[in-house]
Amino acid sequence: MSSRCHDCVGVALALGLAVAMAALTASCEREERDTKAPPESQISVSSVALSPLQPGEASAPPGGSHRSIEENAFNLAQGKQLYTWFNCSGCHAHGGGDIGPALMDDQWLYGSEIENVYATIVQGRPNGMPSFRNRIPDQQVWQIAAYVRSMSGLTPATASPSRSDEMQNKPAEQSMPRQEPKDTHP
């Protein structure tokens, strides 16, 4: 009798520990590093909408199936590194803009969802944004797109990059107040 109770206590302790560990590791998702490119990473760009106007009854916009990309700290950190390496900062500075428009404000010329940003990077845009199709692999484009969204505070603060390693320019992406995207382009 007593030995069974002994086991009970041990088993209960072990179970409790296991549950606690699972809970802890689950919250580490934002730190997971998926270094391999996901097998199917092309979305059909035609599903991306650039206008909220829909004739007839408005239906819900296509779901953000790639939202999880921007909730991952590794992706955002990689995106930040690639942003400088691939000369995005040459045209967009650290979000303030230069040759290209500002990326840290609430104005989005071609849509603010991560799918829109992905499409902009891959397709290019007529007034000077180059097309990076076949130049930047898809997984990297998603990372850069996620980082671009973090520049205006649209990504979770727990995943966004913090203080830069370079000359301080704007507030860290982590501390950027969330700016709801505006669909106004005069």
Partner: protein, 330 residues
């Protein structure tokens, strides 16, 4: 006793066998490593002897060997001799250590060749610096050293702290971002040696190796001249290689790599102007061969997961053309 000594000899032989090799600090091939190894053997010898003596005395005490009655004065004398001996030995070893360190540091004073190494995750950017800038050139993950010539290394890091370590040639020197460190190496014996990053720097710290090749001076000059040349442009008749160059310039390769002689001049990844002339690729992860290069291009994340090289999607004939071109860059 005899069994002990017999197995002791076997153990010693096995251990000594590990002293040889391309990455052994106990097989010095240069002045600096020689100094360090000399210090190692000195310490090992002296301290080993003391250790054995202490062991013998301990065993003797445990076995309860007969002690003669110790007088007060004899005990004091023994202890004084012991303490004095210890002090002299410590001071001596310290002096040798300082002296060796000073000597090694001064070896780089009259360096005739300067190499600038910038560590990045997870590869080595190597630049041979000449007073006339058009005679400087860059390569990656390899250093060629002329035998007998003191070489100064200027060590920088682009991202995190790494450590530069070619065990056969010298000890470790860190590469710290925001700081410039210097070290020097004088190789004395021709051969191929392996260097390794010696400060944990991330996912692939373990696969951040470096080829250090010491060659006689004339061979070094020939190597230097060959590395100075830009990559040859494929002739129009050479269709496969021309196509390969086109693939290089129109795929993700051009975003990260330099091939001098083409319009590709990015510094995110290693300089590939003479990639086919190197012994290994991916900082020592694989020996160079066309097949290995193909595997690396298409699926680097399964060879070195966490390295900055992404999986590149190419059509098979594009890949073959690209490999044909890269294979010509000796």
């Amino acid at each position: 006793m005899r069994r002990l000594s017999g197995s002791g000899v076997v153990v010693a032989l096995v251990l000594l066998g590990g002293c040889q090799g391309v990455q052994s600090a106990l097989d010095p091939a240069g002045d600096q490593a020689g100094g360090i190894a000399g210090l190692f053997w000195l310490f090992l010898g002296v301290l080993g002897a003391i250790y054995l003596l202490v062991l013998v005395l301990l065993v003797g005490a445990l076995l309860g060997l007969r002690q003669r009655a110790a007088t007060e004065r004899r005990l004091t004398g023994l202890l004084t001799a012991w303490a004095g001996g210890t002090t002299i030995i410590i001071l001596g070893l310290t002096a040798f250590s300082y002296g060796t360190d000073a000597r090694i540091t001064r070896l780089g004073d009259d360096a005739e060749l300067t190499i600038e190494v910038t560590a990045k995750q997870f590869w080595w950017q190597v630049k041979y610096v000449e007073p006339q800038p058009s005679r400087s050139f860059e390569t990656a993950n390899e250093v060629y050293l002329p035998v007998g010539v003191p070489v100064r290394f200027i060590l920088k890091s682009q991202d995190v702290i790494h450590s530069f370590w070619i065990p056969n040639l010298h000890g470790k020197t860190d590469l710290i971002p925001g700081r410039v460190n210097e070290t020097s190496i004088t190789a004395r014996r021709a051969g191929v040696y392996r260097g390794q990053c010696a400060e944990f720097c991330g996912f692939q710290h373990a696969h951040m190796a470096l080829d250090a090749v010491a060659v006689p001076a004339p061979e070094f000059e020939a190597w230097r001249e060959s590395r100075l040349k830009p990559a040859p442009t494929p002739t129009p008749e050479d269709q496969l290689r021309s196509e390969g160059l086109q693939v290089f310039l129109t795929s993700p390769c051009v975003m990260c790599h330099t091939i001098r002689g083409t319009s590709a001049s990015s510094r995110v990844g290693p300089d590939l102007t003479h990639v086919a002339g190197r012994r290994t690729i991916a900082a020592g992860a694989l020996p160079y061969s066309r097949g290995n290069l193909g595997g690396w291009i298409v699926n680097p994340q399964s060879i070195k997961p966490g390295s900055q090289m992404p999986d590149i999607q190419l059509e098979p004939d594009q890949l073959q053309a690209l490999l044909a071109y890269l294979d010509s860059l000796t």
